[in-house]
Symmetry: C2
Protein backbone atom coordinates (compact mmCIF):
# COMPACT_ATOMS: atom_id res chain seq x y z
CA UNK A 1 0.00 0.00 0.00
CA UNK A 2 1.54 3.29 -1.09
CA UNK A 3 0.58 5.26 1.98
CA UNK A 4 1.15 8.68 0.44
CA UNK A 5 1.74 9.63 -3.15
CA UNK A 6 4.14 12.43 -2.33
CA UNK A 7 6.05 13.56 -5.37
CA UNK A 8 9.80 14.09 -5.46
CA UNK A 9 10.41 10.70 -3.95
CA UNK A 10 13.12 8.52 -5.33
CA UNK A 11 11.44 6.44 -7.98
CA UNK A 12 13.62 3.38 -7.90
CA UNK A 13 13.38 3.14 -4.12
CA UNK A 14 9.61 3.53 -4.20
CA UNK A 15 9.47 0.84 -6.82
CA UNK A 16 11.65 -1.47 -4.77
CA UNK A 17 9.58 -1.03 -1.62
CA UNK A 18 6.33 -1.57 -3.49
CA UNK A 19 7.89 -4.68 -4.90
CA UNK A 20 8.56 -5.97 -1.40
CA UNK A 21 4.91 -5.42 -0.54
CA UNK A 22 3.89 -7.20 -3.71
CA UNK A 23 5.89 -10.28 -2.78
CA UNK A 24 4.56 -10.16 0.78
CA UNK A 25 0.99 -10.08 -0.51
CA UNK A 26 1.69 -12.80 -3.05
CA UNK A 27 1.08 -16.51 -2.77
CA UNK A 28 3.03 -18.78 -0.43
CA UNK A 29 5.02 -20.37 -3.24
CA UNK A 30 6.33 -16.97 -4.25
CA UNK A 31 6.22 -14.95 -7.45
CA UNK A 32 8.30 -15.28 -10.60
CA UNK A 33 10.18 -12.42 -12.20
CA UNK A 34 7.76 -12.24 -15.09
CA UNK A 35 4.74 -12.10 -12.84
CA UNK A 36 6.30 -9.31 -10.83
CA UNK A 37 7.33 -7.36 -13.92
CA UNK A 38 3.81 -7.60 -15.30
CA UNK A 39 2.25 -6.50 -12.04
CA UNK A 40 4.72 -3.62 -11.72
CA UNK A 41 4.15 -2.55 -15.31
CA UNK A 42 7.87 -2.45 -15.81
CA UNK A 43 10.33 -4.23 -18.06
CA UNK A 44 11.75 -7.56 -17.02
CA UNK A 45 15.30 -6.24 -17.07
CA UNK A 46 14.58 -3.32 -14.78
CA UNK A 47 12.58 -5.49 -12.43
CA UNK A 48 15.35 -8.03 -12.45
CA UNK A 49 17.89 -5.46 -11.31
CA UNK A 50 15.63 -4.33 -8.50
CA UNK A 51 14.99 -7.89 -7.42
CA UNK A 52 18.67 -8.71 -7.37
CA UNK A 53 19.35 -5.72 -5.19
CA UNK A 54 16.65 -6.79 -2.75
CA UNK A 55 17.92 -10.36 -2.72
CA UNK A 56 21.48 -9.20 -2.06
CA UNK A 57 20.21 -7.37 0.98
CA UNK A 58 18.16 -10.38 2.06
CA UNK A 59 14.88 -8.51 1.83
CA UNK A 60 13.86 -11.23 -0.58
CA UNK A 61 15.14 -14.70 -1.27
CA UNK A 62 14.71 -17.24 -4.04
CA UNK A 63 12.63 -20.34 -3.42
CA UNK A 64 14.69 -23.50 -3.37
CA UNK A 65 13.93 -25.31 -6.61
CA UNK A 66 11.80 -22.97 -8.68
CA UNK A 67 13.00 -19.47 -9.42
CA UNK A 68 10.41 -17.70 -7.35
CA UNK A 69 10.82 -14.77 -5.00
CA UNK A 70 9.90 -15.04 -1.33
CA UNK A 71 10.22 -12.81 1.74
CA UNK A 72 13.80 -12.79 2.98
CA UNK A 73 15.25 -13.11 6.42
CA UNK A 74 16.21 -9.44 6.65
CA UNK A 75 12.55 -8.66 7.21
CA UNK A 76 12.49 -10.87 10.28
CA UNK A 77 15.75 -9.35 11.42
CA UNK A 78 14.49 -5.78 11.05
CA UNK A 79 11.13 -6.56 12.61
CA UNK A 80 12.74 -8.13 15.63
CA UNK A 81 15.19 -5.26 15.97
CA UNK A 82 12.50 -2.61 15.57
CA UNK A 83 10.44 -4.34 18.22
CA UNK A 84 13.43 -4.58 20.56
CA UNK A 85 14.22 -0.90 20.01
CA UNK A 86 10.69 0.25 20.67
CA UNK A 87 10.56 1.21 24.34
CA UNK A 88 6.85 0.50 24.64
CA UNK A 89 7.06 -2.94 23.03
CA UNK A 90 10.13 -4.05 24.93
CA UNK A 91 9.04 -2.76 28.34
CA UNK A 92 5.55 -4.21 27.97
CA UNK A 93 6.55 -7.70 26.97
CA UNK A 94 6.82 -9.20 30.44
CA UNK A 95 3.51 -7.64 31.48
CA UNK A 96 1.83 -8.96 28.34
CA UNK A 97 3.24 -12.40 29.04
CA UNK A 98 1.88 -12.33 32.54
CA UNK A 99 -1.57 -11.23 31.41
CA UNK A 100 -1.68 -13.86 28.70
CA UNK A 101 -0.63 -16.56 31.12
CA UNK A 102 -3.18 -15.50 33.75
CA UNK A 103 -6.10 -15.21 31.37
CA UNK A 104 -5.20 -17.65 28.63
CA UNK A 105 -6.08 -15.00 26.07
CA UNK A 106 -4.27 -13.38 23.18
CA UNK A 107 -2.74 -10.13 24.39
CA UNK A 108 -1.76 -7.21 22.17
CA UNK A 109 -0.52 -3.69 22.57
CA UNK A 110 -1.06 -0.77 20.25
CA UNK A 111 0.78 2.49 19.99
CA UNK A 112 -1.18 5.72 19.79
CA UNK A 113 -0.46 7.19 16.35
CA UNK A 114 -2.27 10.52 16.32
CA UNK A 115 -5.31 8.85 17.77
CA UNK A 116 -5.15 5.75 15.60
CA UNK A 117 -4.05 2.40 17.02
CA UNK A 118 -1.04 0.62 15.54
CA UNK A 119 -0.55 -2.79 17.10
CA UNK A 120 3.13 -3.44 17.65
CA UNK A 121 3.26 -6.64 19.66
CA UNK A 122 1.16 -9.73 20.13
CA UNK A 123 1.35 -12.71 22.45
CA UNK A 124 -0.83 -15.58 21.38
CA UNK A 125 -2.86 -17.47 23.93
CA UNK A 126 -2.23 -21.16 24.48
CA UNK A 127 -5.46 -22.20 22.80
CA UNK A 128 -5.69 -23.65 19.35
CA UNK A 129 -7.52 -20.59 18.08
CA UNK A 130 -5.24 -18.06 16.48
CA UNK A 131 -6.52 -14.63 15.57
CA UNK A 132 -5.48 -12.97 12.35
CA UNK A 133 -4.10 -9.76 13.73
CA UNK A 134 -1.37 -8.10 11.68
CA UNK A 135 1.07 -5.75 13.34
CA UNK A 136 2.48 -2.41 12.24
CA UNK A 137 -0.63 -1.15 10.47
CA UNK A 138 -2.61 1.95 11.28
CA UNK A 139 -6.03 0.54 12.03
CA UNK A 140 -9.50 1.92 12.38
CA UNK A 141 -10.00 2.96 16.00
CA UNK A 142 -13.67 2.15 16.46
CA UNK A 143 -13.55 -1.64 16.02
CA UNK A 144 -10.99 -2.65 18.63
CA UNK A 145 -10.94 -2.25 22.37
CA UNK A 146 -7.43 -0.83 22.35
CA UNK A 147 -8.47 1.62 19.64
CA UNK A 148 -11.49 2.78 21.60
CA UNK A 149 -9.44 3.02 24.79
CA UNK A 150 -7.07 5.36 22.95
CA UNK A 151 -9.96 7.34 21.47
CA UNK A 152 -11.39 7.86 24.94
CA UNK A 153 -8.22 9.77 25.86
CA UNK A 154 -8.66 12.30 23.06
CA UNK A 155 -10.80 15.42 23.05
CA UNK A 156 -14.30 15.04 21.70
CA UNK A 157 -13.29 17.34 18.88
CA UNK A 158 -10.36 15.17 17.85
CA UNK A 159 -12.60 12.11 17.91
CA UNK A 160 -14.97 13.83 15.54
CA UNK A 161 -12.08 14.71 13.26
CA UNK A 162 -10.93 11.12 13.14
CA UNK A 163 -14.40 9.85 12.44
CA UNK A 164 -14.72 12.32 9.57
CA UNK A 165 -11.34 11.27 8.21
CA UNK A 166 -11.88 7.54 8.34
CA UNK A 167 -15.58 6.98 8.80
CA UNK A 168 -17.19 4.25 10.86
CA UNK A 169 -16.98 1.18 8.72
CA UNK A 170 -19.17 -1.75 9.77
CA UNK A 171 -17.21 -4.94 10.18
CA UNK A 172 -20.06 -6.88 11.78
CA UNK A 173 -23.71 -6.12 12.51
CA UNK A 174 -22.61 -5.10 16.01
CA UNK A 175 -20.06 -2.54 14.85
CA UNK A 176 -20.57 1.03 15.99
CA UNK A 177 -21.48 3.02 12.90
CA UNK A 178 -22.77 6.35 14.16
CA UNK A 179 -21.02 9.13 16.01
CA UNK A 180 -23.60 9.38 18.84
CA UNK A 181 -23.29 5.68 19.60
CA UNK A 182 -19.52 5.96 19.55
CA UNK A 183 -19.56 8.93 21.92
CA UNK A 184 -21.87 7.09 24.28
CA UNK A 185 -19.45 4.18 24.37
CA UNK A 186 -16.52 6.58 24.86
CA UNK A 187 -18.22 8.10 27.88
CA UNK A 188 -18.64 4.66 29.43
CA UNK A 189 -14.98 3.91 28.77
CA UNK A 190 -13.92 7.15 30.42
CA UNK A 191 -15.68 6.35 33.69
CA UNK A 192 -14.81 2.67 34.06
CA UNK A 193 -11.29 2.90 32.53
CA UNK A 194 -11.49 0.03 30.10
CA UNK A 195 -13.03 -0.51 26.68
CA UNK A 196 -14.97 -3.50 25.41
CA UNK A 197 -15.26 -4.66 21.81
CA UNK A 198 -18.17 -7.07 21.82
CA UNK A 199 -18.09 -8.68 18.37
CA UNK A 200 -17.65 -5.28 16.74
CA UNK A 201 -14.65 -6.33 14.66
CA UNK A 202 -15.29 -10.01 14.09
CA UNK A 203 -18.17 -12.35 14.84
CA UNK A 204 -17.67 -14.39 17.96
CA UNK A 205 -14.60 -12.42 19.05
CA UNK A 206 -14.54 -10.22 22.13
CA UNK A 207 -11.74 -8.02 23.35
CA UNK A 208 -11.16 -5.77 26.32
CA UNK A 209 -8.58 -3.02 26.44
CA UNK A 210 -7.21 -0.15 28.47
CA UNK A 211 -4.92 2.80 27.78
CA UNK A 212 -1.50 3.49 29.26
CA UNK A 213 0.42 6.76 29.54
CA UNK A 214 3.91 8.10 29.02
CA UNK A 215 5.91 10.42 31.23
CA UNK A 216 4.21 13.44 29.68
CA UNK A 217 0.86 12.11 30.85
CA UNK A 218 -0.09 11.55 27.21
CA UNK A 219 -1.81 8.35 26.14
CA UNK A 220 0.98 6.26 24.65
CA UNK A 221 -1.21 3.39 23.56
CA UNK A 222 -3.44 0.59 24.73
CA UNK A 223 -3.26 -3.03 25.82
CA UNK A 224 -5.97 -5.52 25.04
CA UNK A 225 -6.90 -9.15 25.57
CA UNK A 226 -8.80 -11.06 22.92
CA UNK A 227 -10.83 -14.23 23.19
CA UNK A 228 -13.81 -16.06 21.86
CA UNK A 229 -17.24 -14.88 22.94
CA UNK A 230 -17.97 -18.39 24.17
CA UNK A 231 -15.01 -18.22 26.55
CA UNK A 232 -15.92 -14.79 27.83
CA UNK A 233 -19.41 -14.57 29.33
CA UNK A 234 -20.68 -11.11 30.12
CA UNK A 235 -20.16 -11.48 33.86
CA UNK A 236 -16.48 -12.29 33.28
CA UNK A 237 -15.87 -9.15 31.26
CA UNK A 238 -16.07 -6.70 34.14
CA UNK A 239 -13.62 -8.73 36.20
CA UNK A 240 -11.30 -9.00 33.23
CA UNK A 241 -11.60 -5.27 32.61
CA UNK A 242 -10.27 -4.51 36.07
CA UNK A 243 -7.43 -6.96 35.53
CA UNK A 244 -6.45 -5.38 32.24
CA UNK A 245 -6.66 -1.93 33.74
CA UNK A 246 -4.19 -3.03 36.41
CA UNK A 247 -1.81 -4.32 33.76
CA UNK A 248 -2.16 -1.13 31.76
CA UNK A 249 -1.22 0.77 34.90
CA UNK A 250 1.84 -1.45 35.27
CA UNK A 251 2.92 -0.47 31.76
CA UNK A 252 2.32 3.19 32.59
CA UNK A 253 4.63 2.85 35.57
CA UNK A 254 7.32 1.20 33.46
CA UNK A 255 7.11 4.06 30.99
CA UNK A 256 7.60 6.50 33.82
CA UNK A 257 4.07 7.86 33.54
CA UNK A 258 1.57 8.71 36.21
CA UNK A 259 -1.37 6.40 36.77
CA UNK A 260 -4.65 8.15 36.14
CA UNK A 261 -7.03 8.43 39.06
CA UNK A 262 -10.58 7.47 38.18
CA UNK A 263 -13.58 9.18 39.66
Amino acid sequence: MPEKKNSSNIGSVTKALNLVDLVMAGPKEGLTLSEIAREMKSSKSATHATLRTLVDHNYLRMSEPGPRYLPGMALIRLGDLASARDPIASLSRSIMNELSKKTGLTVRIARNYDGYPVFIERIDGPGVVRFFTPLGIRELPHVSSAGKAILAELSDERIREIVEESGLEARTPKSITTLPKLMADIRKIRVRGYAVDDEEDAQGVVCIGAAFYDHFGQCAGGISATGLKSELPTEEIAKLGIKILKHAEAITKKLGGKVKVRG
Copy 2:
Protein backbone atom coordinates in the same frame (compact mmCIF):
# COMPACT_ATOMS: atom_id res chain seq x y z
CA MET B 1 26.03 -4.96 6.74
CA PRO B 2 26.25 -5.08 2.96
CA GLU B 3 26.07 -8.85 2.66
CA LYS B 4 27.43 -9.03 -0.88
CA LYS B 5 29.04 -6.38 -2.99
CA ASN B 6 27.58 -7.60 -6.25
CA SER B 7 27.88 -5.00 -8.96
CA SER B 8 25.03 -3.93 -11.25
CA ASN B 9 22.74 -3.37 -8.31
CA ILE B 10 20.54 -0.36 -8.23
CA GLY B 11 22.55 2.26 -6.39
CA SER B 12 19.76 4.31 -4.94
CA VAL B 13 18.02 1.22 -3.58
CA THR B 14 21.24 -0.11 -2.08
CA LYS B 15 21.79 3.27 -0.51
CA ALA B 16 18.27 3.33 0.89
CA LEU B 17 18.54 -0.13 2.41
CA ASN B 18 21.94 0.64 3.92
CA LEU B 19 20.37 3.75 5.34
CA VAL B 20 17.71 1.67 7.05
CA ASP B 21 20.43 -0.46 8.62
CA LEU B 22 22.25 2.66 9.71
CA VAL B 23 19.21 3.96 11.54
CA MET B 24 18.58 0.54 13.07
CA ALA B 25 22.12 0.44 14.40
CA GLY B 26 21.94 4.02 15.59
CA PRO B 27 21.12 5.34 19.05
CA LYS B 28 17.69 5.08 20.62
CA GLU B 29 16.96 8.76 20.18
CA GLY B 30 17.44 8.44 16.44
CA LEU B 31 19.74 10.10 13.95
CA THR B 32 19.50 13.51 12.32
CA LEU B 33 19.65 14.10 8.59
CA SER B 34 23.10 15.64 8.83
CA GLU B 35 24.48 12.74 10.82
CA ILE B 36 23.13 10.29 8.31
CA ALA B 37 24.41 12.25 5.33
CA ARG B 38 27.86 12.41 6.89
CA GLU B 39 27.88 8.68 7.63
CA MET B 40 26.63 7.85 4.14
CA LYS B 41 29.19 10.15 2.51
CA SER B 42 26.44 11.72 0.51
CA SER B 43 24.99 15.17 0.16
CA LYS B 44 22.28 16.33 2.47
CA SER B 45 19.83 16.87 -0.35
CA ALA B 46 20.20 13.40 -1.79
CA THR B 47 20.00 11.84 1.65
CA HIS B 48 16.97 13.93 2.37
CA ALA B 49 15.14 12.58 -0.67
CA THR B 50 15.96 9.01 0.26
CA LEU B 51 14.83 9.58 3.82
CA ARG B 52 11.56 11.10 2.71
CA THR B 53 10.89 8.11 0.51
CA LEU B 54 11.55 5.74 3.39
CA VAL B 55 9.37 7.78 5.73
CA ASP B 56 6.52 7.81 3.22
CA HIS B 57 6.65 4.04 3.16
CA ASN B 58 6.83 3.90 6.97
CA TYR B 59 10.19 2.19 6.95
CA LEU B 60 11.35 5.11 9.03
CA ARG B 61 9.55 7.70 11.09
CA MET B 62 10.46 11.03 12.63
CA SER B 63 10.88 11.31 16.38
CA GLU B 64 8.17 13.38 18.02
CA PRO B 65 9.75 16.68 18.92
CA GLY B 66 13.25 16.63 17.51
CA PRO B 67 13.76 16.00 13.82
CA ARG B 68 15.42 12.63 14.20
CA TYR B 69 14.86 9.46 12.22
CA LEU B 70 13.73 6.24 13.91
CA PRO B 71 12.68 2.78 12.76
CA GLY B 72 9.18 2.88 11.34
CA MET B 73 6.21 0.64 11.85
CA ALA B 74 6.47 -0.95 8.40
CA LEU B 75 9.42 -2.95 9.70
CA ILE B 76 7.26 -4.47 12.41
CA ARG B 77 4.54 -5.09 9.86
CA LEU B 78 6.88 -6.83 7.44
CA GLY B 79 8.60 -8.83 10.15
CA ASP B 80 5.32 -10.08 11.51
CA LEU B 81 4.07 -10.94 8.04
CA ALA B 82 7.28 -12.68 7.06
CA SER B 83 7.10 -14.72 10.23
CA ALA B 84 3.45 -15.59 9.61
CA ARG B 85 4.24 -16.61 6.04
CA ASP B 86 7.15 -18.81 6.99
CA PRO B 87 5.76 -22.32 7.30
CA ILE B 88 8.42 -23.41 9.78
CA ALA B 89 7.94 -20.43 12.05
CA SER B 90 4.17 -20.50 12.01
CA LEU B 91 3.79 -24.25 12.43
CA SER B 92 6.34 -24.38 15.24
CA ARG B 93 4.91 -21.61 17.35
CA SER B 94 2.51 -23.69 19.41
CA ILE B 95 5.18 -26.32 20.04
CA MET B 96 7.66 -23.66 21.08
CA ASN B 97 5.09 -22.18 23.43
CA GLU B 98 4.49 -25.54 25.01
CA LEU B 99 8.19 -26.20 25.48
CA SER B 100 8.78 -22.79 26.96
CA LYS B 101 5.89 -23.20 29.35
CA LYS B 102 7.00 -26.66 30.46
CA THR B 103 10.64 -25.76 30.99
CA GLY B 104 10.48 -22.07 31.80
CA LEU B 105 13.29 -21.49 29.33
CA THR B 106 13.75 -19.28 26.29
CA VAL B 107 12.96 -21.31 23.20
CA ARG B 108 14.19 -20.51 19.69
CA ILE B 109 14.07 -22.11 16.28
CA ALA B 110 16.58 -21.73 13.49
CA ARG B 111 16.26 -22.44 9.81
CA ASN B 112 18.96 -24.41 8.05
CA TYR B 113 20.54 -22.04 5.53
CA ASP B 114 23.08 -24.14 3.67
CA GLY B 115 24.31 -25.51 6.96
CA TYR B 116 24.25 -22.23 8.84
CA PRO B 117 21.60 -21.47 11.44
CA VAL B 118 19.31 -18.47 11.03
CA PHE B 119 17.06 -18.02 14.03
CA ILE B 120 13.61 -17.00 12.91
CA GLU B 121 11.51 -17.12 16.06
CA ARG B 122 12.00 -16.74 19.78
CA ILE B 123 9.77 -17.20 22.78
CA ASP B 124 11.16 -15.68 25.92
CA GLY B 125 10.95 -17.53 29.19
CA PRO B 126 9.01 -16.07 32.08
CA GLY B 127 12.13 -15.22 34.08
CA VAL B 128 13.55 -11.76 34.42
CA VAL B 129 16.62 -12.73 32.43
CA ARG B 130 16.34 -11.86 28.78
CA PHE B 131 18.92 -13.13 26.32
CA PHE B 132 20.18 -10.90 23.55
CA THR B 133 19.42 -13.11 20.58
CA PRO B 134 18.74 -11.33 17.32
CA LEU B 135 16.67 -13.02 14.64
CA GLY B 136 17.12 -13.23 10.87
CA ILE B 137 20.91 -13.32 10.86
CA ARG B 138 23.11 -16.08 9.50
CA GLU B 139 25.06 -17.13 12.57
CA LEU B 140 28.15 -19.17 13.23
CA PRO B 141 27.10 -22.79 13.63
CA HIS B 142 29.60 -23.96 16.23
CA VAL B 143 28.52 -21.80 19.16
CA SER B 144 24.84 -22.66 19.47
CA SER B 145 23.09 -25.92 20.15
CA ALA B 146 20.70 -25.44 17.24
CA GLY B 147 23.66 -24.68 14.99
CA LYS B 148 25.49 -27.82 16.06
CA ALA B 149 22.35 -29.90 15.75
CA ILE B 150 22.08 -28.74 12.14
CA LEU B 151 25.78 -29.35 11.51
CA ALA B 152 25.39 -32.91 12.74
CA GLU B 153 22.98 -33.54 9.88
CA LEU B 154 25.51 -32.56 7.22
CA SER B 155 28.22 -34.68 5.70
CA ASP B 156 31.63 -34.51 7.36
CA GLU B 157 32.91 -32.93 4.18
CA ARG B 158 30.35 -30.13 4.24
CA ILE B 159 31.16 -29.47 7.89
CA ARG B 160 34.82 -29.09 6.98
CA GLU B 161 33.88 -26.68 4.19
CA ILE B 162 31.84 -24.54 6.55
CA VAL B 163 34.62 -24.48 9.11
CA GLU B 164 37.08 -23.37 6.43
CA GLU B 165 34.67 -20.68 5.27
CA SER B 166 33.86 -19.21 8.64
CA GLY B 167 36.47 -20.52 11.05
CA LEU B 168 35.87 -21.45 14.68
CA GLU B 169 35.80 -18.19 16.52
CA ALA B 170 36.14 -18.38 20.30
CA ARG B 171 33.32 -16.62 22.08
CA THR B 172 34.22 -17.91 25.51
CA PRO B 173 37.08 -20.04 26.89
CA LYS B 174 34.78 -23.05 26.50
CA SER B 175 34.09 -22.50 22.78
CA ILE B 176 35.09 -25.27 20.42
CA THR B 177 37.97 -23.93 18.36
CA THR B 178 39.46 -26.93 16.59
CA LEU B 179 38.00 -29.19 13.96
CA PRO B 180 38.79 -32.47 15.80
CA LYS B 181 36.98 -31.26 18.90
CA LEU B 182 34.03 -30.15 16.82
CA MET B 183 33.86 -33.51 15.04
CA ALA B 184 33.98 -35.33 18.35
CA ASP B 185 31.03 -33.27 19.57
CA ILE B 186 29.18 -33.86 16.30
CA ARG B 187 29.58 -37.62 16.73
CA LYS B 188 28.06 -37.41 20.20
CA ILE B 189 25.18 -35.37 18.84
CA ARG B 190 24.54 -37.91 16.11
CA VAL B 191 24.09 -40.76 18.54
CA ARG B 192 22.05 -39.07 21.23
CA GLY B 193 20.01 -36.83 18.88
CA TYR B 194 20.45 -33.53 20.69
CA ALA B 195 23.22 -30.95 20.94
CA VAL B 196 24.47 -29.13 24.01
CA ASP B 197 26.11 -25.71 24.13
CA ASP B 198 27.70 -25.54 27.55
CA GLU B 199 28.81 -21.90 27.88
CA GLU B 200 30.34 -22.00 24.42
CA ASP B 201 28.60 -18.85 23.21
CA ALA B 202 28.23 -16.84 26.42
CA GLN B 203 29.47 -17.30 29.95
CA GLY B 204 26.87 -18.76 32.26
CA VAL B 205 24.48 -19.61 29.45
CA VAL B 206 23.61 -23.16 28.46
CA CYS B 207 21.44 -24.29 25.60
CA ILE B 208 20.21 -27.60 24.26
CA GLY B 209 18.93 -28.17 20.75
CA ALA B 210 17.74 -30.75 18.28
CA ALA B 211 17.16 -30.83 14.55
CA PHE B 212 13.88 -31.29 12.69
CA TYR B 213 13.22 -32.43 9.13
CA ASP B 214 11.05 -31.51 6.18
CA HIS B 215 9.10 -33.79 3.88
CA PHE B 216 12.19 -34.44 1.79
CA GLY B 217 13.90 -35.85 4.86
CA GLN B 218 16.31 -32.92 4.78
CA CYS B 219 17.21 -31.07 7.96
CA ALA B 220 14.99 -27.99 7.90
CA GLY B 221 16.40 -26.44 11.07
CA GLY B 222 16.76 -26.80 14.78
CA ILE B 223 14.92 -25.95 17.97
CA SER B 224 16.72 -25.03 21.17
CA ALA B 225 16.06 -24.07 24.76
CA THR B 226 18.30 -21.59 26.53
CA GLY B 227 18.80 -20.99 30.23
CA LEU B 228 21.28 -19.96 32.84
CA LYS B 229 23.92 -22.50 33.84
CA SER B 230 22.80 -22.10 37.43
CA GLU B 231 19.28 -23.21 36.52
CA LEU B 232 20.48 -26.16 34.49
CA PRO B 233 22.65 -28.58 36.44
CA THR B 234 24.39 -31.26 34.40
CA GLU B 235 22.01 -34.01 35.49
CA GLU B 236 19.06 -32.00 34.20
CA ILE B 237 20.55 -31.60 30.75
CA ALA B 238 20.08 -35.20 29.62
CA LYS B 239 16.43 -35.16 30.67
CA LEU B 240 15.90 -31.85 28.93
CA GLY B 241 17.66 -33.17 25.82
CA ILE B 242 15.11 -35.95 25.49
CA LYS B 243 12.29 -33.48 25.97
CA ILE B 244 13.61 -31.17 23.27
CA LEU B 245 14.15 -34.10 20.94
CA LYS B 246 10.48 -34.98 21.38
CA HIS B 247 9.43 -31.44 20.55
CA ALA B 248 11.72 -31.40 17.51
CA GLU B 249 10.01 -34.58 16.36
CA ALA B 250 6.65 -32.89 16.80
CA ILE B 251 7.80 -30.11 14.49
CA THR B 252 9.04 -32.68 11.99
CA LYS B 253 5.61 -34.25 11.97
CA LYS B 254 3.92 -30.89 11.42
CA LEU B 255 6.22 -30.24 8.48
CA GLY B 256 5.21 -33.58 7.02
CA GLY B 257 8.65 -35.09 7.55
CA LYS B 258 9.62 -38.48 8.82
CA VAL B 259 11.00 -38.80 12.31
CA LYS B 260 14.52 -40.13 12.31
CA VAL B 261 15.10 -43.43 14.06
CA ARG B 262 18.12 -43.39 16.35
CA GLY B 263 20.33 -46.39 16.76
